[in-house]
Point group: D2
Chain length 305, copies 4
Amino acid sequence: MPLSADQLSEIEAQRAQSAPTRRATAEGMEAHLYTAYPVLDHGFVRVIDYMGDDLAITQAARVSYGKGTKSVTNDAGLIRYLMRHWHSTPFEMCEIKLHVKLPVFVARQWIRHRTANVNEYSARYSILDREFYIPAEDHLNAQSVVNNQGRGALLEGEEAARVLEILKADSNRCYDNYESMISDEGQSGLARELARMNLPANIYTQWYWKVDLHNLFHFLRLRADPHAQYEIRVYAEEICKIVADWVPHAYSAFEDYRMGGAQLSAKALDCVKRMIKGEIVTQESSGMSKGEWREFEGIIGLMST
Amino acid sequence: MPLSADQLSEIEAQRAQSAPTRRATAEGMEAHLYTAYPVLDHGFVRVIDYMGDDLAITQAARVSYGKGTKSVTNDAGLIRYLMRHWHSTPFEMCEIKLHVKLPVFVARQWIRHRTANVNEYSARYSILDREFYIPAEDHLNAQSVVNNQGRGALLEGEEAARVLEILKADSNRCYDNYESMISDEGQSGLARELARMNLPANIYTQWYWKVDLHNLFHFLRLRADPHAQYEIRVYAEEICKIVADWVPHAYSAFEDYRMGGAQLSAKALDCVKRMIKGEIVTQESSGMSKGEWREFEGIIGLMST
Amino acid sequence: MPLSADQLSEIEAQRAQSAPTRRATAEGMEAHLYTAYPVLDHGFVRVIDYMGDDLAITQAARVSYGKGTKSVTNDAGLIRYLMRHWHSTPFEMCEIKLHVKLPVFVARQWIRHRTANVNEYSARYSILDREFYIPAEDHLNAQSVVNNQGRGALLEGEEAARVLEILKADSNRCYDNYESMISDEGQSGLARELARMNLPANIYTQWYWKVDLHNLFHFLRLRADPHAQYEIRVYAEEICKIVADWVPHAYSAFEDYRMGGAQLSAKALDCVKRMIKGEIVTQESSGMSKGEWREFEGIIGLMST
Amino acid sequence: MPLSADQLSEIEAQRAQSAPTRRATAEGMEAHLYTAYPVLDHGFVRVIDYMGDDLAITQAARVSYGKGTKSVTNDAGLIRYLMRHWHSTPFEMCEIKLHVKLPVFVARQWIRHRTANVNEYSARYSILDREFYIPAEDHLNAQSVVNNQGRGALLEGEEAARVLEILKADSNRCYDNYESMISDEGQSGLARELARMNLPANIYTQWYWKVDLHNLFHFLRLRADPHAQYEIRVYAEEICKIVADWVPHAYSAFEDYRMGGAQLSAKALDCVKRMIKGEIVTQESSGMSKGEWREFEGIIGLMST
């Protein structure tokens, strides 16, 4: 992530500013503000602004539940209670604004999370930079042979080299042609809104993305999950670290109840009850399909024998 | 709005807190933070938190439009341009969190604005206070005789007095009975979630309401409009004053393009063109219905003759 | 639910209409269309329109996942797979429009589900009918002594009678006064938008409510849950019956994975694994708080000893 | 738009199906159902399903406004009234589901409209077809010299030929390399989720897109506007034709009040009033900036002299 001199000095200027505020302030977050954390080969995530902290969550909950919430002994306990019982609105009272630089094919997945605000760099107005995501060799995998959407083993030497060569060459050639088409030297110059169509999906774009904590947790649950595509997962993991410093109690509850937990179906719950009583349950006696049973074994931590 | 001693000391404590922050800070808004501005007889609006300022709007726009936006000479001009051309996403980059105390029938209108976050006081968990909205005499109007949803002239002496007497007596009787039903002295005590059904719609509730600036402007356009019901309009007007201090350039553009502007139909636009050329246009020659023409006259400032 | 003659003849007229369509048609749903199913003492739910059926869900999924989805042998299996893996968008491709008559305090809970479209009867324009929810004796409970928001035992004879008497008398008195305030006989007549504030929260309102199947399932999971307030739960249960006939495969998957299932935290999952291996786990050795452990026992079906 | 034999026979099968329904049925829409209307060189729009018709809009409005709405003499008049006064909820009661095939760079603009449901073809699961948008010569424009985001004059002969040659060659080379990277003949074969990053933004994707009529009108107002990029505008225009047959009264009101109308600022409104009175208003005396005045002249139809 080679930041330009302009960008670095902008970040420095932003980090140097300080003003007194009466607002709720999260010290853990102040330390992160504006710093660009590198992701992938040219991407980054940085916090531009935030609203609220752990106390803002319980403060909002206490408006709703009034004196009832005072029986919960402390804020951490109340936050755990709210998370466990799917009370989403108190978490919506915190908000974060991120500046993200990311490949277009990652942006296309990301934008599917609709409850957020976005300002993306416009290739109708402006010219994109020559920056493309080229996977590192340890993230260059074959198509999975068991999962239609997954990755299998790493590509080996010669095949990996060939793929990297292709990705680099096509990116550069497409960008050269993009530049030559929009150039107005000795020609009219193609409209930017048309020329951009020649750029492949590994080119980097950037945006401001603003979202509340409840919807951010939903995003993180899906995108920091091991089944998420690696290239979006690394962004989610970087954001997880930031959120852990911003709202430590809420993040800890999120880890316990969402990331580390599991949803059991009625059938799976019935099997668990029988197994706790000592019964040997098999796929055949479980009522589940083979696929469900395999996933159930993964959750419960059994090896099939 | 008699705030309790507890509330006043909470506000004092909140206003006394101050911490350095690297975030964008709006001085005009800092002055308002936590102060409860009275609305109606027992209601209030106060700012709990905010994110962003005028510069946050143009900063987001410049991410989108890149160097293109630099041709606009200054931030105020860029904000006007964005508002004029319905670029909504930069305004979504600012956020405000309000604490509002309001009658239930006002809350029922307010909540129809769906793109916002809400934590309302829960009458399932907690006991509502004995506070009811009783209109002042100069806002006690008759049903409009020309508009199905409007108000007409003020009620006069005896009728006004009778209405106020009814509202006060029914509020108090309903609340007395609410209290007596939930009391557990000498009886079991009705569940709160049931007892609340006896309370009329002028009882006060309260909530935290968080919304982005774009959606707040939409709310204000509809609710600060002269056609809005008085009891919600006074909240909108109070919020307008706060927003004017928070994001003065954006608010000024909002006033010019939204509040003070008007939407003309294709037919109305055609009439305007003809009228500017000196033609005398009447309802008959306008192509508009009588209702539309009447509204058109109101916009253009003509009196029919 | 005494429907008026007008309403009954409108329903008859709607049910009598029939036209050929090329659209996906769900026979189970056609049988329900327009019929008003009674809920509570004066409420009802009826289907006004719908879009899609079980096949519409898999059809949309196959657009997304292409040939990959063909390996799943049949539509029921694919729907189960989508539900299990939280693929929400295919379920959003079905839509339902309901006409619901419900008490105002139920409407206030219901409207908190924001991702839906609503047209509610307006008491600014029109006059509300004299119809109030008065609980049946077998749903007149005391406040729970263990749960701040719950109901405890049924109220007994004399107390129950007193409560019912209060609810009826206050409803009628408030409505009498509402009528007398808006009357224009011998007086101006108070504006409807003001007079409505005298009506208690058990008065009935009505609305059209349109929602997609994914968001409807979310609503049903929360509101058909045993912890939901009885007065909204009966609406959710009535809707469940309709949905079961509309999209039987999707509803069956919803029952298995959502209604009948359970979310386990990381800690709970760890306990389950240890218990399956034969370990005796207690609250003390579980890492959970007392409240969590009690809920965990409820899920796993253990009695503490 | 060469539809495959499979697609054509699927469309035939869909169009051949017919079943009686009690639902509201729009004859004008039934005629369109499933037919794929060509857009650009390989794209199309086709209606998969719809809910409601013009009457469904007024039916919902009458639920809200009760007897008040009966004073409006007919449904067309009521629809015009609702549109003029920004009553959005009755229009939300109609819904449409489209199947769209479109270039990725168009899809990226389209998806910014967040209040809609989408199932897109997944290039993680499935292999994209070799279909790229190559502009026709009469839509191959230079960058505008006056507008940062617009198009200027058509490119001339040699430059146009060179651009087309580049777009075709790069598309094909990138696709060849995509195919060769994912091939599992004699190699492992790169994961699809990675290989797709080599594909340029003019490749076609497809999706199901479901939206309510209010939000569709918002989309059409922005995207059927002359300032919208040509490649998305042609989709919007095709959808306009369909909507005009589906809900003719609503579409006619939309044309008059939204597409053909204009928003005047407070300053512009003031100028109009002065001009109607015969005053000569210039940019200098208007209070507007040069940019605003130029746009104002465009709306009012004046030529500056």
